[in-house]
Amino acid sequence: MPEDLQPAISSIENWGLKVKIGSSIGKRENTFGGTDEERRKDFQTMLNDPEIKAIMCARGGYGIIRFIDMLDFNYFQKHPKWIIGFSDITVLHSHINRNFGIASIHSKMCNSFPSDINNAEQVQVKSIESIRKAMMGREMTYSGSTNAFNRSGNGVGILVGGNLKTLETLSGTKSDLNTTNKILFVEDIGEYLYSIDRMFWNLKRTGKLSGLKGLIVGGFKIKPDDPGEDFGKSLFDIVLEKVKKYSYPVCFDFPVGHQKENYALKCGVRHNLIVSTSGSSLVEIN
């Protein structure tokens, strides 16, 4: 419903920007925001509209894969604009990085803007505020907390990544990420440990972990093991055993994911990842 968008609209207008609502907002086709054709058409209209400088997806869920091959990116390639969102929007980030080399913003979406920004938690306000900064061209810097499992190091590369499950299901397709010489970030929610393990094996066995400049592990809200099915390995074990042959920096608990502290990251832009015993930092470099 459009009223659910009000907090996002108010904030964005407060930033001095104008808001245009797409025709798929408030539409419903089962789990989707309209039929494939309605969603495609709405997105295409935004891509082709010269007045639109950024497209923020109101929410993720599941559905972009169903129409991405029908989108025409010709105008977008000539006149790039910011595509904003995360989770299922990982499909778009990955697709436009792989095919067009155009940067995009991995961040919270309309459904995460607090209804009362003055009384919202600081990390949430800062996360929302980071979207504005990213859109308006500020060079971004981020810091992650210390974690005993972090692997120290320093790497420079183009930042790519997103939702791990979504990335796995892009394997072998024309939207599949090339991660060589990149800094890869991943996050996920609601997956069992065994499934996270399998997805990291997919990254490893498809060659996506071998040529990295750095690995950023964001939030992982893990689905608890069923009784008697204790997986016996932690997220840290799962990740570190896959990358032990390589020497690039690895950091955990980075503030990206399905959580309040989820800062806007510029996919496709060069960053410097520095991980040390006192924490991690990610700095945009141009």
Binding site: Y62, G172, T173, D176
Partner: protein, 302 residues
């Protein structure tokens, strides 16, 4: 041409292992007895009934060594995985197939064992047996046609499988090597060294306990990675115990699959008896079959 391991004779040995999840010994008992009644000797790997206190039937090393031992032991003519679950991805790249390549033997199982079937087929061109595992050999089930199909296949008998036509089927016939398995694992293997080249093949797929949106997503992955383009035929087995999101997906699993596959001309058979349920025929992975999808009947003939 696919390399088909030697068929079994009475007195031959079958090795049983648990390469993934833990399985208590008592649950393997009826399988052992049935295999013995069929005239085979049975030896058990260390991972069978190996109480680890966690999900797995042993550490990666224990599971790897146990499977490796069965691959390398010339006495063993077939390796039956007692159960799947999760775990083969963790050890498949550590397995050495040097001896196995020289003296192929039957690798038997399904679900997580899909990884082995695909890996053996893609890398070594060696046939294996996609079939029910130990849990399906419950007392009283020894004579069901699905369990008996394992015996017949191991003896080298050629079987013609038949089932009723499904309303969503696409009629026609196709000849090709039969490959496939569990959808989630076939999708997971895309881009890895165990990935399947599906061109000119008959592809079969089944799954259990998946969210409907995830079935949709995996079929889009298959389609977008070209896996569905040039098949000789497509066999859709059971898609059972599906889960749904709070806002319903709005289609059944078969409707989802039909939506993606209806653009292709090759024969498609829905509701074929390959599944996580009792209806699960033993299929020779990598061997040539003819799929006939008719008005009222479907047949799959070696």
């Amino acid at each position: 041409m696919i390399i088909v391991p030697p068929y079994l004779h009475k007195g031959d040995t079958i090795g049983i292992v648990c390469p993934a999840g833990f399985m208590p010994m008592e649950k393997v008992q009826s399988c052992i007895e049935t295999l013995q009644q069929w005239g085979y000797r049975v030896i058990l790997g260390k991972t069978v009934g190996n109480e680890t206190g966690n999900y797995f039937s042993g550490t990666d090393k224990e599971r790897l060594n146990d499977f490796q031992h069965m691959l390398d032991n010339d006495e063993v003519k077939a390796v039956l995985c007692a159960r799947g679950g999760y775990g083969l991805t963790r050890i498949v790249d550590g397995l050495k197939f040097k001896n196995f390549k020289k003296r192929p033997k039957w690798v038997i199982g399904f679900s997580d064992v899909t990884i082995l079937h695909a890996h053996l087929y893609s890398n070594y061109n060696i046939a294996s047996l996609h079939a029910p595992m130990a849990a399906a050999f419950n007392y009283g089930e020894e004579q069901n046609p699905f369990i008996l199909s394992i015996k017949k296949n191991l003896e080298g008998k050629k079987i013609v499988y038949r089932c009723k036509a499904h309303e969503m089927n696409n009629r026609g016939q196709g000849i090709g090597e039969l490959i496939g398995g569990n959808l989630a694992l076939i999708a997971h293997l895309i881009g890895t060294p165990s990935d399947l080249d599906t061109k000119g093949k008959i592809l079969f797929l089944e799954d259990v306990g998946e969210y409907l949106y995830n079935i949709d997503r995996m079929f889009y992955q298959l389609k977008r990675s070209g896996k569905l383009d040039r098949l000789a035929g497509l066999i859709i087995g059971g898609f059972t115990d599906n889960k749904d999101t709070e806002r319903p997906f709005g289609k059944t699993a078969y409707e989802i699959i039909h939506d993606v596959t209806s653009q292709f001309n090759y024969p498609v058979a829905f509701n074929f008896p390959v599944s996580h349920e009792k209806e699960n025929y033993a299929l020779k992975y990598g061997v040539g079959y003819k799929l006939r999808v008719g008005k009222s009947k479907v047949s799959l003939e070696e």
